[in-house]
């Protein structure tokens, strides 16, 4: 299902949004206004801390919203082709560091935004950057349904306010045998799940990418993948603190090419599990279908945990090429659960991972 509205509305919104939030003096004034407030009123003294914090949450939610709108506008109007997406783009504010971040050096912004699989746009890894440039990320809603107490449709801007934004520098391992280190910005998926209040019979979480063939050229074709792209997690996987919903990259609004405005990051699984441009999150009592598993069940399982001991018919999973390394550098050894075994191995205790790959 598509959430895009008729084009006229976009045009009108663009006009409304463009001027005041552009990164000129006006933008800074707006930011200062929003940020100064807590200083003017010593709210921490008269308000309980929890409330103060939630207000702060709202503050950076508001700033993030403005930033996202401005970012969307910037991305939509930027015309320089091979430039990194939103290189000097809109910063997200109030991002907190996370204990779950790796200390490895992140891959360059340029490589992260110019080399990835986004089959809705192209099966080539270099093309999505240009093809996703004009993708519309506003208005955007996400439908939460299935076995939940509170089925609802959330606006992306309220989703960005759901929890404090965290920087999560994660290893990212593609099933094709390459890897990156990516400084995502997001919050635990569990925050959204808790708010939706799943019922006892909800055993899995299913995710769905937007279907917008007018914007995603490969969705007009039937010979690429069945659309929309769907993914899923078992409930305990989805609730794991490492599983996050991503709204930013390198402290900025998530570039379109990397799945804006909302994507998943599940760092112990192969990259294709981390679904992009999410418009629906459903709670099911059955294992939901997942796109690559439907395409080739012998190659891609439902779990698709990074596992160097489980050989893939196409690629050896024992090692990986780190993007950004010299072409004469040896590949590096792939780690079980992509190096997150200490945190996630418990989810699969007693399971035969050769069988449930």
């Amino acid at each position: 299902m598509s959430v895009s509205l008729p084009g006229t509305i976009h045009l009108e919104r663009r006009r409304l949004v463009s001027r005041p939030i552009q990164r000129g003096p006006g933008y800074n004034r707006l930011r200062n206004m929003l940020i100064k407030k807590p200083d003017d009123i010593p709210s921490s003294e008269i308000t309980p801390k929890s409330q103060y914090l939630s207000r702060r949450k709202f503050m950076f939610g508001a700033v993030a919203t403005g930033a996202a709108l401005a970012g969307g506008y910037y991305l939509r109007t930027s015309s320089e082709i091979d430039q990194p997406v939103a290189a000097d783009g809109v910063k997200l504010s109030g991002i907190v560091k996370s204990q779950f971040s790796t200390t490895e050096k992140p891959t360059s912004f340029k490589d992260i935004t110019n080399y990835n699989n986004y089959y809705e746009f192209s099966t080539d890894k270099y093309e999505p950057n240009g093809l996703a440039r004009n993708f519309r990320t506003r208005p955007w809603t996400v439908k939460i349904d299935g076995h939940v107490k509170r089925a609802k449709t959330l606006d992306i801007d309220s989703i960005m306010k759901l929890a404090p934004l965290e920087e999560r520098i994660y290893r990212h391992r593609c099933v094709e045998g390459w890897s990156m280190v990516i400084p995502w910005v997001g919050f635990p998926l569990s925050a959204l799940i808790n708010q939706a209040e799943p019922l006892g019979k909800a055993k899995f979480v299913a995710f769905e990418t937007i279907k917008a063939p007018d914007q995603m050229p490969n969705q007009k074709r039937r010979d690429v993948l069945p659309w929309p792209y769907v993914e899923g997690l078992r409930m305990d996987e989805a609730m794991h603190p490492l599983a996050i919903l991503v709204v930013g990259l390198y402290d900025e609004v998530l570039p379109n090419v990397d799945g804006a405005p909302l994507r998943l990051a599940v760092p112990w699984k192969y990259g294709f599990k981390s679904i992009k441009a999410i418009v629906r999150i459903s709670f099911t009592d059955y294992m939901p279908p997942t796109t690559w598993n439907q395409m080739a069940p012998d190659e891609y399982g439902f779990y698709s945990n990074v596992n160097p001991t489980k050989d893939h018919p196409r690629w050896s999973q024992a090692s990986e090429r780190k993007i950004g390394a010299s072409i004469f550098a040896a590949k590096q050894r792939t780690l079980m659960f992509n190096g997150y075994a200490d945190q996630v191995a418990g989810l699969y205790s007693g399971m035969d991972l050769q069988k449930y790959y």
Binding site: T123, K125, D223, V224, P313, R314, S316, I327, K331
Partner: protein
């Protein structure tokens, strides 16, 4: 049309030779200017693979082209084009052996045995090897024209294995590999058709000469 003089053909050969080196030159230039993208090994692998298949198809087009255009001297370019297919194929293989596997023989053997697209690719290259080795005038003489020609029909199988290699490699979206597949099918169909025509003609002509 009269065949061009030897000097003209030689000059053309030099020109064609230089053009055939262009894909490699582009790769090398990009390599020195950091233009090979986020995953240079991937780009080198794809580029050399693509040009191997392209040169195989160009080589296979020479015969239909010279017959259809009645320009028999075109055959003089065939060996060079075929050797370029082998050259790019070897670069493709070297990328795998060196930049992908770092000469780890055990891993390579495992890959060749286990991954069918690599099996097909290795087969395609292995079938080209004897053709490259026997491409000289000396080998044509030693083998005799007919046997040499029979041997060199291996190129059909090599090209087919190359296309299969490409088809088995892609995860989804078969357009690119199938494009090569269709061109190859066309070139092979031409040969099949001319063989059939030749056979019916020679059958028809046998009684005529005897009577």
């Amino acid at each position: 049309m009269k065949s061009p003089s030897l000097a003209v053909v030689r000059a053309l050969k030099v020109a064609v030779f230089l053009v055939c080196l262009a894909p490699l030159s582009v790769l090398v230039w990009k390599g020195f200017h950091e233009q090979l993208g986020a995953n240079p090994v991937d780009v080198i692998t794809r580029s050399t693979g693509k040009w191997t298949l392209t040169f195989l198809l160009i080589t296979l087009s020479v015969t239909p082209l010279r017959k259809l255009t009645h320009l028999p001297w075109l055959v003089r370019f065939r060996r060079m084009l075929g050797l370029f297919a082998f050259f790019y194929g070897s670069l493709h293989l070297m990328t795998f052996v060196w930049l992908d596997k770092f000469f780890n023989v055990q891993e390579m053997l495992h890959d060749i045995a286990k991954r069918r697209f690599i099996t097909a690719g290795m087969t395609a290259w292995a079938l080209l090897l004897p053709l490259a080795l026997t491409s000289t005038a000396g080998w044509i003489r030693r083998l005799g024209g007919k046997r040499w020609q029979q041997l060199h029909r291996l190129i059909y199988f090599s090209a087919a294995a190359g296309v299969v290699h490409f088809i088995w490699l892609v995860k989804a979206d078969l357009r690119r590999p199938l494009t090569y597949g269709f061109v190859l099918a066309g070139l092979l169909a031409y040969r099949g058709a001319s063989w059939l025509i030749a056979r019916t003609r020679s059958r028809a002509s046998v009684p005529a000469t005897e009577s």
